[in-house]
Structure formats: structure tokens, C-alpha cells
């Protein structure tokens, strides 16, 4: 394509940011940082900075979208205008609409929505800074936000992308690798059930490369899942005294006035 050739792999097989082919970018998770939202989580993954918030379950608005036997999920993936190299218009783009759909379809299998008929659960994902892999980071954070909101879940959903860079299968593409690489494969999985809820691919891969990339990213998702659990533990570490109070309240429903 015309511009100066960028090598994505050096002579040692290391990537532009020094990573090996199967290495994740640094990842940081924080739970429950927003006040008004019922649940929230923040993720930094590479240079991605993404906030996820959950409201609900709450009354369905408008009423006519409500389902009689389970909750409706509403999901909005949106990028801030300052999140990308070139300013992005705040109006929802076709890409954001597609990603809102695939992200909802990744999270919804994990939500036990039959507990809240006629209600909605609203999921908001705001990309404050984008660095490739935003939909996966968004899913990882949104799943934590759902748990933080106390919504019953079958399990957490972890997500990560793999791809192909200069003919080699690579894990967790960075921005430049996504733009100049050969293929991109974002995946979201519920690790215990081995159930994949999000899978997309663009680029060019042989069947074998696809299998290798799939295995690589599923493994990485299991690691991310452990980080999610750790982030929840950090937030919800409880001391013995409250333990006993919760137990007591659960046993007797009386309210002393």
C-alpha cells in the first residue's frame, strides 16, 4: 500500500511493543468505581481505557419492549470523540451499532434474565481511549459491572482477540498490528462452560491458523477470567463482623424499629 513498510516482527520474532507472539498486553481491572450506576468496572488493556456501567434490573422503558418472562438487555457500545487518533463524531456509527449487538449477544447468555420478567438491564460501555481490542475489553469490563450490580449470572465472561501478524498467529493485537496485520479474531467466552458468545473474524487465515488462533485466545481468556475474579475479591473483601450480620439478617427477616 504506498506508505513506508513497517516491520511488525523483528529478527527475534518479537513484536513492535517487545511482546512475544503469545503474550497479553498489560491488563488492569477495577470494580465499583462509579457512584450512581448499580454496577461498574474499569479496564485498562494496552492503551485501551474503557468504562462499563450497569443499571438494573429496573422498570422497562418504554414499556412495550418488556418481555413477559425475562428481563430485556439493552447494550450500548460507544466511543468518545477523543478516544481515537482522529476525532470521532459523537453520533453512533454503523460499527458502534454492530458492536453493541455482538457485545450484547456475548453477555446475554451469562445473565439469568428469567429472574426479572418485565424489567430491563442496561449496559453502557464507553471507550475513553481506544487501542485495538475495544470490544473484547468492553465485554470483560461489562461482565464485571453486571456482577458488581448484583445481577445473577451463570458465570463471568472474559474476552480477548488473537490475530495474524506477518504470517504468524499472535495474541492480543495492538493498534498498529490490527491496522497492518493479516487477520483479527475477537472472542468472548464463559470459561467454565467452555461457551463462546462472541466470535468475529476479518482478514485471511487458513483453517489451521484459525484453530491455532482460537486455542490461543481461549487460553488467554481463562487468564483474564482469573484477573476478573481477583478484581471482585479486591472490591468485596469483607471482615468477619459483617459476615455475621449478613448471616443473622438472612436467618430472621424481622425488622426492629
Amino acid at each position: 500500500m504506498g506508505d513506508k513498510e513497517v516491520r511488525l516482527l523483528d529478527k527475534n520474532g518479537l513484536r513492535v511493543d517487545g511482546r512475544r507472539l503469545d503474550e497479553l498486553r498489560p491488563l488492569k481491572l477495577e470494580v465499583g468505581l462509579l457512584d450512581k450506576a448499580d454496577g461498574s468496572a474499569y479496564i485498562e488493556h494496552g492503551k485501551n481505557k474503557i468504562l462499563a456501567a450497569v443499571y438494573g434490573p429496573r422498570e422497562a422503558q418504554p414499556r412495550h419492549i418488556a418481555l413477559a418472562d425475562r428481563a430485556v438487555l439493552k447494550c450500548r457500545y460507544h466511543m468518545a470523540p477523543f478516544s481515537t487518533d482522529e476525532r470521532k463524531s459523537p453520533a453512533p456509527s454503523r460499527r458502534e451499532l454492530e458492536l453493541s449487538k455482538v457485545i450484547r449477544e456475548a453477555l446475554e447468555p451469562s445473565v439469568m434474565s428469567e429472574y426479572f420478567p418485565r424489567a430491563t438491564i442496561d449496559i453502557f460501555i464507553e471507550v475513553l481511549q481506544a487501542d485495538a481490542g475495544t470490544r473484547c475489553a468492553g465485554v470483560t469490563a461489562a461482565s464485571l459491572a453486571l456482577a458488581d450490580a448484583g445481577i445473577p449470572l451463570r458465570e463471568l465472561v472474559a474476552a480477548c482477540a488473537a490475530g495474524k501478524v506477518e504470517g504468524k498467529v499472535a495474541l492480543d493485537l495492538s493498534d498498529i498490528e490490527d491496522k497492518k496485520g493479516d487477520a483479527d479474531l475477537p472472542v468472548a467466552i464463559m470459561p467454565k462452560s467452555n461457551a463462546i458468545g462472541l466470535l468475529q473474524m476479518d482478514g485471511s487465515m487458513t483453517e489451521d491458523e484459525f484453530k491455532e488462533a482460537l486455542d490461543m485466545t481461549v487460553n488467554a481468556c481463562r487468564k483474564i477470567y482469573e484477573m476478573q475474579r481477583e478484581a471482585l475479591r479486591q472490591k468485596y473483601h469483607i471482615v468477619k463482623e459483617e459476615n455475621e450480620l449478613i448471616q443473622q439478617a438472612s436467618a430472621t427477616a424481622e425488622v426492629q424499629q
Binding site: 438487555l73 454503523r94 453493541s100 463462546i196 458468545g197 468475529q200 487458513t206
Partner: protein, 271 residues
């Protein structure tokens, strides 16, 4: 904002019928689980378009028109033409389609079809440059869904490929930054032939080319697009269900095999 859709309008009894048949390896219309519905593809039905194709896949009907027009190139690809794919789910096609801006389903379909064409580099966009950095040809691929009986993605994908392969433009030279057209008509520079193969998961079975009733019962679908060299160029999982890694690998494997068969059904239309 993406919102969980209303429940399937199909009664539980009817859903069970579909499921029971499939566990026995049969389908509502006597197809096998790995068979496409009867396919008719007609090229060149819209003379005013540069290229067009009509696909009847079972009762699903889709028309795709290709228009080639002048435009400005993107700054990072100044010497390349531009591909853009759009899809319209016109209200007459289904009682569930409403007039208005594209909803998430038509956007998803357009983007999946686009990915197949773009990532397989089916169009040699470098041959569509008029003046570098100033003027190029834009290829508009417009998908028109006329009758929705399931598997719109594959019908659209096949019609798009047919329309591109059918598309012609006048040979041109460039003078003073403008194209000068000759009488001779040449095909669009097409060099790859992406095929989308969509499978649906119903309980533990995976079937090809779901009809509408099967879509209303399925837990999820997987679309796999392959090019003429058996490379996978696009994939999209859709729906609220889930797939295991093994199911994914098997489905991809089968899709690659099946796409060779479907490609040969479309290509002999062109010499």
C-alpha cells in the same frame, strides 16, 4: 443501543417439531442438515445498474445492485477505489421489518458481506484510480432484501458476488483529472470470489442454511466466509446462544468444504 428482541412468534409446539426433526437428521422441507435450499441466481436483471444479481434461496429473495460512480479517495489510500456495502430490509419483505434507518440487523448483514469482499480483496481497487489523491471510482454494493424466509446473509453474499462478477464499466483513460470513457465495456476488476456459509445451532445439532422457522428456534448462528484459496476471510457469530471451541472448529471445517460447491454454482454464470 442494542435491545433484546421480542420472543419468537413461534409456539412452543412448533419449535419442538423443528427440534425433534433435526435430532433425527431431518428438516421441515425434507432437506438434509447440510443441504442448501433450492438456489436460483439470475445476473444482470437491473440494466441501469453496473451489475446486478437476484438470488432466490428457498423462499428468501434478495436483489443486489452494483453502481460505480466517481468519488474522492480516503487520505490513507489515495490511489485506490472505495468499496461500500449497504443493506435495506425493506418493510414488504417481512411483517417484522419497519421503515426507517437501518437497524442493527441490516447493519450487521451489510458489514459481514462487506468484510467478505474486502478481506478477500475481491475487487482490485488499485485499478479504480482516476487521479491519485483526487478522484477514484467508488463501488456501491446495495443489498435489497425483498422476502425474508431465513438466511439473509448467505443470500445477500451470493447475490453480491454475482452482481460484482456481472458488473461492467466502460474502459476509461484519464485526461485533466477526469475519466474519459471509451465505447468498450469491461468487467470490474474482480480477482477473488468470497462465499458466505451460514450455519445454525439448534440444541446440539448444527445445520446449514436455516430457513426462517429454523432461525426462530436456533440458539445462535455462525457465518464463515472463505475465498477461492480456502482461506477464511470473515466470521461472525450471531444470536444469544453459545458455541464450544470444538463446535466452532467443526463448523469452520465444513464451511470451507461447502463453499467450494457453492462457488461453482455462481461462477459458471460468467465466462
Amino acid at each position: 443501543m442494542s435491545i433484546t428482541r421480542q420472543l419468537s412468534p413461534v409456539a412452543k409446539l412448533e419449535q419442538r417439531t423443528v427440534v425433534d426433526l433435526i435430532t433425527k437428521g431431518k428438516r421441515l422441507d425434507e432437506r438434509g442438515t447440510q443441504d442448501y435450499r433450492p438456489l436460483t441466481i439470475t445476473l444482470g436483471i437491473i440494466e441501469k445498474a453496473n451489475g446486478s444479481a437476484q438470488v432466490y434461496l428457498g423462499k428468501t429473495k434478495v436483489v443486489v445492485g452494483v453502481k460505480v460512480e466517481k468519488g474522492t479517495p480516503f487520505p490513507d489510500t489515495p490511489d485506490e477505489g472505495i468499496l461500500t456495502v449497504n443493506a435495506e430490509f425493506v418493510p414488504m419483505a417481512s411483517p417484522t421489518f419497519e421503515a426507517g434507518p437501518p437497524d442493527e440487523n441490516s447493519i450487521e448483514l451489510a458489514r459481514v458481506v462487506d468484510r467478505g469482499i474486502r478481506e478477500s480483496k475481491a475487487i482490485d481497487l488499485s485499478k479504480l484510480c482516476i487521479e491519485e489523491g483526487k478522484k477514484v471510482f467508488m463501488v456501491f454494493v446495495d443489498v435489497y432484501v425483498l422476502d425474508h424466509d431465513g438466511n439473509l446473509i448467505d443470500a445477500a453474499g451470493m447475490a453480491a458476488l454475482g452482481a460484482l462478477v456481472d458488473a461492467k464499466m466502460h474502459e476509461f483513460s484519464v485526461k485533466d483529472g477526469e475519466p474519459v470513457f471509451k465505447d468498450k465495456v469491461i468487467p470490474l476488476p474482480i480477482r477473488n470470489y468470497p462465499i458466505t456459509i451460514t450455519s445454525a445451532k439448534i440444541e446440539n445439532s448444527i445445520i446449514i442454511d436455516p430457513c426462517l422457522e429454523e432461525e426462530q428456534v436456533m440458539s445462535c448462528r455462525l457465518t464463515v466466509t472463505t475465498d477461492k484459496d480456502d482461506n477464511v476471510v470473515a466470521m461472525q457469530k450471531g444470536g444469544l446462544g453459545v458455541l464450544t471451541p470444538d463446535e466452532l472448529k467443526r463448523t469452520v471445517s465444513f464451511a470451507i468444504t461447502k463453499s467450494r460447491e457453492m462457488r461453482s454454482k455462481i461462477l459458471p454464470k460468467v465466462n
